[in-house]
Symmetry: C2
Subunit: 439 residues, 2 copies
C-alpha cells in the first residue's frame, strides 16, 4: 500500500453526483480528489459509441421536462440535447393479440384511459404533498412508506387495464416492479418530475423527453476531464476512518487524508465500505434496506428506422415475453435505427442468472428480446443485434469483460425502495448519532 | 499484512453455524481455520455473567420443542438445559387498562382466542406445505413471498384482537414487525418449529421452552475451546479471492489459502465482503434483500422473582409504550429475579438512534423499558437495572465499548425477509452462475 496523499475533500464515486460535487468544490477553491472503483467514470451512465455519431446508452439516458438542473449542467459542459424519437403509434401486445394505438396505454374502448388519467391525477396530487427535498417529511409519509405501490393500485384503481398500464409505466422506473416499491418512493419519483405520469394529466404538452447528443456518459467524461488528475480510477474504496478532525479514505491505490469525505455510492454499495468507527445503526440499516433493482436494456440495431415508415414509434407494450416495453433509441440523425427493449424485475433476474453461466446461454437469451421486439413491430428480422449488455448487478463490474460476451455489467439500475415502515425514508434526513458519517 | 497461512477449509464467522461447521470438518480429519471479525465467539448469542450462576443472554436464548439438533449439540458439549420460567398469569396492558389472564392472548371475552387458534391452525397448515429444507420450493412460494405477513393477517383474520395477538407474537421473531416480513418467511419459521404458533393448536402440551444453564453463548465458547488455535478473533474478513483450485481469504491478520471457504455470516454482512471474481448477480442481490431486523432486549434485575408471589409469570403484553412484551429471564436457581423486555421494529430503531448520541440519552432511554415493565407488573421500583445492551445493528460491534454506556451491540437480531417476489428465497437453492461462490 502506497504512502498517504492529502486533499481537502475526498469524493467516493465518479458518477454524476461525485463529479458534480468535486466540480463545485473546485470552483470554490477547495481541492477535491475523486476515487472511483471502476476503470471508467460515469457511474450509472454508460455510453457505447457505434461510430458515425451513433451510440447507445446502456444506463440512464432520458431527460424529462422539468429536470432543469441536468439541462443546465449539459449546457455548461457543451453537451447538446435532442428530442427523443417519439412520433408514431404504439404496438400493443395483449393476450397474444397485436393492436396499434396512439398512446402508451392503448385504445380507450372500455374507459380504462379515463381511469388511468384519474389515477395519475390522484398520484400527482398525493405527490404534491411531499416536500420536494424531503419526501420523508410528508404528513402521510409513514403510511405511504408502509405499503407497496402495487397494493395501493390494487385497492384504488378499478380497471384492471388501468392498473396494468400504471404498473407497467412505473415498473420501468423502479426496476423491481411495483411489488417491491413503496408508495412513498413512487410518489417521490413523481414529485421530482422524473416520471411521465404527469404527462397523462397535463393540460398542454409539457415537451418531449430529450436525450444527450453523443450519449449521457459525456457529462461525466467532460467533468472528469476538467478535474484533470483529481480523478483516480481503479481505486475501489474499502475503508473510511474518521478521526477527530480528519478522515482517512483507504482505496486500492493507497490512503488519502482529508477534512471531509463525500460518499456518492448507492446506499447498498456505500454500506459495503467499512467505516471506523462504525456507521450509526440507523444509517447502517438504511444501506441494508435500499437494494439495487433489476433491469436489463437490450438494443437492436437496424439499417434504418423502418418502423417510422409504417407510422410506428418503435414502442411496444407487451403483457408477455421477456421484453415488456421498447422504445426508439436511434441517434439524432436517425440512422442507424435502434430499438431498446427493457427487461425488468423477475425477468431480468432470470435472464441475468442465465447470462452469467455460459456464452452460449448469453447469446440465446439476447436473441429473445431481439425476437420479441422485432416481429411484433413489423415482422422483419433483426438486421444487426448490437453487442448488448446485461445490467445484472451493481457496484463492481468485472474489470475486463470477456471479449465477445454480454457479461459485463451496465449501470442502468435504479435503487429500489421496498416498503419498510418508517425505517428507510425517515432516517435519511438526520444524523442519528452525532458521529461522523458520510454525507 | 502478514504472510500467507494454509488450511483445508476457511470458515468465516465464529457463531453457531461457523463453529459447528469447523467442528464437523475437524471430526472428519479436515483442517479448518475459523476467522472471526469480533473479539469474541458466539455470533448472535452473547451471555453476560452476573455472578453466582446468574446471567443474561443478550442474544438468542430459547430452545423450542422440536429443535432437536441444538439440544443434541448442547448434550455433546455438556451444556444443560432448564425449563424457562413460564408459570403464572400474563399482564395485559391494552388501551391504558391493565388486566390479568392466563395466556399470552388475554381473556376470550369476544371470541378472539378462537379466531386466533383458527389463524394459527391455518398458518400451520400452510407451513406444512413447505419442504423443510427448501421453503422456496413450496408450490405457492411465489405467491407467499410476494406479500407481507401483515397483509395476509389483515385480509384473513376478522378479529382485530386476534390479528394483534398474532402480529405481536410473530413480531418478536422477525424483529422488524409483520409489515416487513414476507408471508413465506413467516411460514418457514413456523415450519421449522422455531415459533410457538404451534402451541396454540397443540393437542397436548408440546413441552416448555428451554434455556441453557449458564447461557447460550457457552455452546460457541466450548466449540471454540475444542478447536484450540483454529479460531482467530479480531480478524475481520474483507476479501475472498477464488482461483482455479484454491481460495484466498483476506482478513485483518493476513491471507489464508484453502481449498474451500465457508461463509456463515448473515446475508447482508456476507455481501460486504469483496469477492473476486464478483458474486453471481442473483446471489449478490440476495444479500441486498435480506436486511438485519431491529430488536433490543432490556433486562431488569431484582432481588427476587416477586411477581411469582402474586401468581404472575413476568409476562407483559402491551399495546403501548416502548416495551411491548416481557418475560421472566431469571436463572435456573430463581434468584436474582430477571425480567427481559423486548423492544422491536420502529421502537427499537428510535431507541437505538437515541442511545448512540449521548450517555445521558442512553440512560434515560433504558429507564423507559424498566419503568414500562415494572409498574405494570406490580408497581415496585426496579431494584437494580442491569447494564442492558442495545442490539442496534449487525456485524461489527465496536471493539471496546465505552465503559458505563449501553452503546455496545448485542447480537439478538434475526434476519428480516421483506417481500420480494421470487427474488430472495428462490435464489437460495441454486448456484445461478457456475462461478465459485461462498457456501
Amino acid at each position: 500500500m502506497s504512502a498517504e496523499r492529502e486533499c481537502d475533500v475526498v469524493v467516493v464515486g465518479a458518477g454524476l453526483a461525485g463529479l458534480c460535487a468535486a466540480r463545485e468544490l473546485l470552483a470554490r477553491g477547495t481541492e477535491p480528489l475523486v476515487l472511483e472503483g471502476r476503470e471508467r467514470v460515469g457511474g450509472r451512465t454508460l455510453t457505447e459509441q457505434l461510430g458515425n455519431g451513433a451510440f447507445v446508452d446502456h444506463g440512464g439516458q432520458w431527460v424529462s421536462p422539468g429536470q432543469g438542473e441536468i439541462v443546465a449542467l449539459a449546457r455548461e459542459l457543451g453537451v447538446d440535447l435532442f428530442a427523443s424519437w417519439d412520433a408514431g403509434a404504439t404496438v400493443h401486445w395483449r393476450s397474444g393479440e397485436r393492436s396499434i394505438a396512439p398512446g402508451l396505454f392503448g385504445a380507450d374502448e372500455d374507459g380504462a384511459l379515463a381511469d388511468l388519467r384519474d389515477t395519475a391525477k390522484r398520484l400527482t396530487e398525493m405527490a404534491a404533498e411531499l416536500p420536494e427535498a424531503a419526501p420523508w417529511a410528508a404528513p402521510r409519509a409513514t403510511e405511504w412508506d408502509a405499503i407497496t405501490l402495487h397494493r395501493w393500485l390494487s385497492e384504488n384503481v378499478e380497471s384492471m387495464r388501468a392498473r396494468f398500464g400504471m404498473a407497467r409505466s412505473l415498473a420501468g422506473v423502479f426496476a423491481g416492479g411495483p411489488g417491491e416499491t413503496s408508495l412513498l418512493a413512487a410518489l417521490a419519483i413523481i414529485r421530482s418530475g422524473a416520471h411521465e405520469v404527469s404527462r397523462l394529466i397535463a393540460e398542454g404538452d409539457p415537451g418531449p423527453e430529450r436525450r444527450f447528443v453523443g450519449g449521457a456518459q459525456q457529462l461525466c467524461e467532460r467533468m472528469a476531464a476538467d478535474l484533470e488528475d483529481r480523478v483516480l480510477l481503479d481505486d475501489l474504496v474499502s475503508r473510511i476512518e474518521h478521526g477527530r478532525d480528519r478522515v482517512v479514505v483507504v482505496g486500492e491505490r493507497g490512503r488519502v487524508a482529508a477534512r471531509v469525505a463525500i460518499v456518492t455510492l448507492p446506499p447498498t454499495i456505500a454500506g459495503r465500505i467499512r467505516y471506523v468507527p462504525a456507521l450509526a445503526a440507523a444509517r447502517d440499516h438504511l444501506t441494508q434496506r435500499m437494494p439495487m433493482g433489476w433491469v436489463i436494456k437490450a438494443h437492436c440495431v437496424y439499417d434504418s428506422r423502418f418502423w417510422a415508415e409504417e407510422g410506428l414509434a418503435g414502442k411496444v407494450v407487451s403483457d408477455e415475453g421477456v421484453v415488456r416495453a421498447s422504445a426508439d433509441n436511434s441517434p439524432p440523425q436517425g440512422a442507424p435505427g435502434i430499438l431498446v427493449g427493457f427487461i425488468d424485475g423477475e425477468r431480468a433476474r432470470r435472464l441475468a442468472t442465465r447470462t452469467t453461466s455460459t456464452r452460449g446461454a448469453t447469446t440465446s437469451s439476447l436473441a429473445a428480446p431481439t425476437a420479441a421486439i422485432s416481429p411484433r413491430v413489423c415482422g422483419r428480422p433483426t438486421a444487426r443485434p448490437c453487442g448488448s449488455r446485461s445490467a445484472r448487478s451493481c457496484g463492481r463490474e468485472p474489470r475486463r469483460p470477456p471479449p465477445g460476451t454480454a457479461n459485463s455489467r451496465a449501470p442502468c439500475i435504479p435503487v429500489a425502495s421496498p416498503p419498510a415502515p418508517r425505517s428507510t425514508w425517515s432516517v435519511r434526513d438526520r444524523d442519528p448519532s452525532g458521529q461522523p458519517r458520510p454525507i
